[in-house]
């Protein structure tokens, strides 16, 4: 309907459509589809096809995942990490976004917004390394805590699972705050006042109005965070040390250290498959939340 009513009547011709959309599709083809196809092809090869090495088509790389507990438990561990980080980002980010959107007005809001997006402007590697300064033994945090409570002693945070979670939450929290902020901002204050006048307490308003209306933002934030976190390798490696083995770090190893691209590619596609399967399972719930 919209297309028909657009312009001076009549549908846009195939030619105008092709001219307008063509560049975008060529760009998609070049930057996403081609490399992805190449990777998919690699994932079915027995070896990296460079130089004199012989490579043949095989399912071995995929079979390796299902045969070896190691990869399966790593995949599970990565999904768990994704869930924990996403959950924490929701728990911290949603209230922050609510306060930004509904309680703070004017200049103070602008200043706080700047603080939220400031991490985006720093290099990710620098961000992670600055966490090592904070978390390491005799680091900023340990000294501060011991200055107040001398009996606490060493915290032993560095190279642990919590250290990875802290680093990842810090990196990805802004996504959650921004997406939640946008959807909370769209809720008319009068709507909340109307609910109060009808006798609803804060619990009811949160459950029946704010959460359902903010759901699209929360879902968008969760997806934006969950997917990169399960594939992350930098934070686990730098902050996790020996605890930092995840599917993302293993995949990275295949490409950079072990030089087993086919296995790395196969693991990547398996991860993508599991993510898509998870979203497909969650879709009905998302739709209901979306209202």
């Amino acid at each position: 309907m919209a297309a028909q009513s657009a312009g001076g009547g009549g549908r846009p011709t195939v030619r105008t459509l092709a001219t307008l959309l063509g560049p975008a599709y060529v760009w998609l083809l070049l930057t996403i589809f081609l490399p992805l196809s190449a990777m998919l092809y690699f994932s079915f090869l027995s070896d990296v096809p460079v130089g004199a090495r012989e490579a043949e088509l095989t399912l071995e790389n995929y079979a390796a995942f299902f045969e070896r507990d190691f990869y399966r438990s790593l995949m599970l561990r990565s999904f768990q990490l994704g869930a924990v980080v996403t959950g924490l980002c929701l728990l911290i980010g949603f209230p922050c976004a609510y306060i930004l959107a509904k309680s703070i007005k004017g200049r103070a809001r602008e200043a706080l917004f700047l603080l939220v997006i400031l991490p985006f402007w720093t290099n990710a590697l620098v961000r992670v390394f600055s966490w090592t300064m904070v978390l390491r033994g005799n680091g900023v945090l340990e000294r501060a805590v011991n200055a107040v409570f001398p009996e606490v002693g060493p915290l032993g945070l560095m190279f642990t699972y919590p250290a990875i979670v802290v680093g990842l939450v810090h990196s990805y929290l802004p996504y959650m705050i921004l997406t939640c902020y946008v959807s909370l901002q769209a809720i008319d204050d009068d709507v909340i006042d109307a609910a109060r006048a009808l006798g609803a307490g804060w619990g009811t308003i949160l459950r029946r109005l704010v959460l359902p209306l903010a759901a699209p933002g929360m879902i968008a934030g969760a997806v934006l965070i969950f997917v990169p976190v399960i594939g992350s390798f930098m934070e686990p490696r730098i902050l996790g040390g020996t605890q930092g083995t995840f599917i993302g770090t293993v995949i990275e190893d295949q490409f950079t250290a072990v030089f087993n691209w086919p296995l790395g590619a196969a693991l990547s596609f398996l991860m993508l498959g599991f993510v898509l399967a998870l979203f497909a399972l969650a879709a009905p719930a998302f739709r209901r939340l979306d209202g």
Partner: protein, 352 residues
Amino acid sequence: MAAVSVSGVSKRFGPVQALDGVSLDFANGGFFALLGPSGCGKTTLLRLIAGFDAPDAGQIGIGGERVDGTPVERRNVGMMFQSYALFPNMTVADNVGFGLRVRSVPWPERRRRVGEALDLVHLSGLGDRRPHQLSGGQRQRVALARAIVIAPRVLLLDEPLSALDKALRVSMQVELRRIQREVGITTIFVTHDQEEALSLSDRIGILRDGRLVQEGPPRALYERPATAFAATFLGEANLFAGPVDGGRISLGDGAALCPSGPPDPGAATATVAVRPEKMRVTAAATVPETGWNWLDAVVEQHIFTGSSLTYLLAWRGGSLKVFEQTLGEAVAVPGEAVRVVWRPEHTVPVMP
């Protein structure tokens, strides 16, 4: 007994004195219009009665009890917002039933009462729609049904009709009055539209800059405005000011107006207001009936509007307005000198 009483209420927002010592009683079952220009504190007063904010000074009573400490959730007031504020994630029926659900009204009764409320606003059959699938007028009815289904002690309406176009607004005014009569609920209606206030309400309160200017039945307010502002905001008025001389207001050059009542005895000068439809344009040098007020002016323009004729007259560098019914009589033409006459009882002394 007054359903709602407001006494000496003040409210300040930073540098802005939004309300300044407002006292008003709202009679049980009445339809009260709060009228005033934009920014005069109408919404603020409504929100204080509803309980969204607390007054800085003064008291608010609903149904004879003071409600100062009662939060909005427990005041049991029906509020309708200018933006309608429907819940976008719920169906029409769920919107209307929200207040009952919060009150834990059991499902069969809830369904019955929601059905009745939708019938009342002529929306039965649309219960499954979403707000975004409704027209502006329908949304408004949903908002009204949602506010009255909880049987509130008072219905508060904040400029509910201002977002509608003219034709819809008039039909909604009739509807609103019908529904209010049927339900018999005390209603406080905020508007900046004087016509709406005159045609809908039993009583009108005029607010200006956070103060109550005057309060009373529409007819009384119209015929006996207390201030020049009330006279010009509610309807139109010609204002005359001059020194008081022997109970008359002197306009200079020997002309003087006889007011409807004695002007303030202590005051040296007085202001009177005369409604344009109370004046009559006659030929120059016509001898007015005994005791009538008169003055000589020159026609600047006459504007024919169907049932009536508006004269714009030049008088001493200012201009006067006179409405006359079109009875087919001779019409004064622009440039013609005329004499304007009117009865002394239509010459109302007002505070300047």
